[in-house]
């Protein structure tokens, strides 16, 4: 589908699409997108000739379905749907163009469980089989010599459970713990009387690992590099804003979530959860690739060829312009 052969490169680079359909979830790890939209950065960077259509998804699968179906051009998503979409399409459908957020996940367990050894025979929930948290839990357990199986057998029983159900079950005493993303870590601790046994950030170098990145349809990346550049620039603007005005950003994000979902995150939880997440333009490629390797190690994936999943040329050009160091894909 790529028509960006060399003779047309120059023309393609200035060409802008008439419409950009930009996807995100009403979830605070998507704060970069929300701020970029609400503060008008996206609109400004794309220019007045481009119609910006925000698209909201409730979860990753829907985002990938829409990307595959050609119904969205660029969207924020977790590393898990990113890998899925890339591998299912044999590398054809999408590219990661930048990061969005890092950190903010961990294992919360009920009182009385103080060490990995105590987990033997217990039941732990993860959001879904094979997702980032699921892989992290399995890999962590494996390192502590606790066996697991994808069917939920082994020393520790892992059950895939969506976050709300996990909370309800944890409160009702039907679960011993859950490895979940924020703000669920905070809620499990607060509402379920749990203790945070593991903060996932401690397991990664520099305490950083990707939870949200920005992906774009390959055709879009090939055809409209200028638009990609504008979007990444807008995200950079948003991150600058978040860094500079965290309180304002928080309330802005929470208000936005409220308009879409009808609920807002309890401000008390939001403060705690927000502090556990780092908003960064760095897609942290090494953590994504490492996570994929971990998945293979615990038997969740056969083999993953993620070569070419990153297209960071636009991002690196912008970083260079700002005087920051380029991001390299190992």
């Amino acid at each position: 589908a790529s028509t960006a052969a060399s003779p047309t490169v120059a023309k393609a680079q200035i060409e802008m699409p008439s419409e950009v359909r930009f996807g995100y979830f009403p979830n605070f790890t998507h704060a970069v997108a929300i701020v970029a939209l609400d503060k008008g950065y996206l609109k400004k960077r794309l220019g007045s000739k481009v119609t910006l259509t925000p698209v909201t998804f409730n979860a990753g699968p829907a985002a990938i379905e829409a990307l595959f179906g050609g119904a969205v051009d660029v969207t924020l998503a977790g590393p898990n749907p990113t890998i899925t979409g890339f591998t299912q399409s044999k590398g054809a459908a999408l590219r990661v163009i930048s990061g969005a957020a890092s950190g903010g996940a961990g294992l919360v367990v009920r009182a009385g469980i103080g060490s990995p050894a105590d987990l033997k025979g217990k039941t732990i929930a993860t959001p879904q089989l094979g997702n980032t948290q699921d892989v992290a839990l399995r890999y962590w357990l494996k390192k502590h010599n606790l066996s697991t199986t994808t069917e939920g057998g082994g020393d520790v029983h892992i059950v895939p459970q969506d976050n709300a159900t996990a909370l309800a079950a944890f409160v009702a005493g039907k679960l011993d713990g859950a490895w979940v993303p924020e703000p669920w870590v905070t809620r499990l601790v607060a509402e379920g009387n749990g203790t945070e046994l593991v903060d996932e950030a401690t397991l990664w170098p520099k305490g950083k690992f990707v939870v949200t990145n920005t992906i774009a349809a390959t055709t879009f990346v090939d055809k409209y590099p200028a638009a990609i550049s504008a979007i990444v620039a807008a995200e950079l603007d948003a991150i600058d804003f978040i860094k500079a005005n965290p309180d304002q950003a928080k309330s802005l994000v929470n208000a936005h979530i409220k308009t879409i979902t009808g609920s807002q995150i309890d401000p008390a939880y939001l403060d705690k959860a927000w502090s556990n997440v780092d908003f960064t333009i760095d897609p942290l490629p090494s953590t994504l690739l490492a996570s994929a390797n971990h998945a293979r190690a615990v038997g969740l994936l056969d083999s993953v060829d993620l070569a070419g999943i990153y297209d960071l040329s636009a991002l690196n050009a912008l970083l260079t312009k700002r005087g920051d160091s380029k991001i390299t894909v190992p």
Partner: protein, 286 residues
């Protein structure tokens, strides 16, 4: 039988009875119809309150009726809530209307043609059992992220049900009436228009009722397909209240859904009762 045999059957002059019927009819009849559901609601609320008071589960998991009521009232005060109800109802009506047209057409076609019936008759129920989310990728492929995609999911949910209502209604039409119609010269479409459809009407209305339920359920899933920030909807609210584990909010939306369901049912019921009483049907009660 025994009661019948022992008590001497004697029915008093109805002169007084009839006078009574004429004197206080409206108010009394209304009250007769109103008190049972009211009582049911009160009993349900009471049980709920007792369970909450028993402290069985913490309040943020099982909120008290009053909390839910407050949440609901709070919602009712927000124009956004009404927007959501309006959006969802509008989608439901559009989807249902398309389903009625399509379902009726398919139902008539299948009930008329033996070949069609054996070709796709059973497929109708097969389609009904397919969960809505299975259609999402196809809906996006065909319609993108648009209102049409939602309507597509709704129609796939509801139309089979309506078609099944038509088919089973037509199958139940008295063969004698069909013979009469044939002799009178009805055939093909005129047979359907003048005889089969009117005769199958009660069953058709029952199918519509089921179709509505399917439409509504499919819609609750389908609304997640296209989430538009400025256009809130009940399906999205329900899903997110659940995802946020917001128990009072969830219960409030559930009450709203129940209420709409009950209202729509009473429309269908009065439709069906009208049809029946005009034919001298209905349960014989003395």
């Amino acid at each position: 039988m025994s009661e019948h045999a022992i008590r001497p059957r004697k029915r008093a002059t109805a002169g007084t009875e009839r006078g009574a019927q004429l004197a206080v009819p409206r108010g009394k009849r209304l009250w007769d119809r109103a008190w049972p559901p009211l009582l049911a609601v009160i009993i349900a609320l009471l049980i709920w309150q007792i369970v909450v008071l028993s402290g069985w589960r913490p309040e943020y998991v099982l909120p008290a009726p009053l909390t839910v009521g407050q949440t609901l009232v709070g919602q009712l005060g927000e124009p956004k809530f009404w927007l959501a109800v309006a959006t969802t109802l509008n989608r439901a009506l559009v989807g249902f209307a398309i389903s009625v047209l399509l379902g009726s057409a398919i139902g008539i076609a299948v009930s008329r043609s033996r070949v069609l019936r054996s070709a796709i008759g059973s497929l109708i129920t097969g389609l009904q059992t397919m969960p809505s989310i299975a259609w999402f990728p196809l809906a996006i492929l065909l319609f993108g992220l648009s209102e049409q995609a939602i309507a597509f999911v709704v129609v796939l949910g509801a139309a089979p049900s309506i078609a099944n209502g038509v088919v089973s209604g037509v199958d139940d039409v008295s063969p004698q009436l069909q013979r009469v119609a044939q002799v009178l010269g009805a055939k093909g479409m005129s047979m359907y228009r003048h005889v089969m459809i009117p005769a199958a009407l009660p069953s058709y209305v029952a199918g519509l009722k089921q179709g509505w339920a399917f439409a509504w359920r499919s819609l609750m899933a389908g609304e997640l397909l296209v989430i538009i920030a400025s256009r809130p909807s009940l399906g999205v609210q329900l899903q997110f209240f659940r995802e946020f584990a917001n128990a009072p909010g969830l219960l409030a939306i559930m009450l709203v859904i129940l209420l709409i369901g009950v209202l729509v049912d009473s429309i269908f019921s009065s439709l069906a009762n009208g049809v029946r009483s005009r034919r001298g049907m209905g349960v014989v009660r003395l």
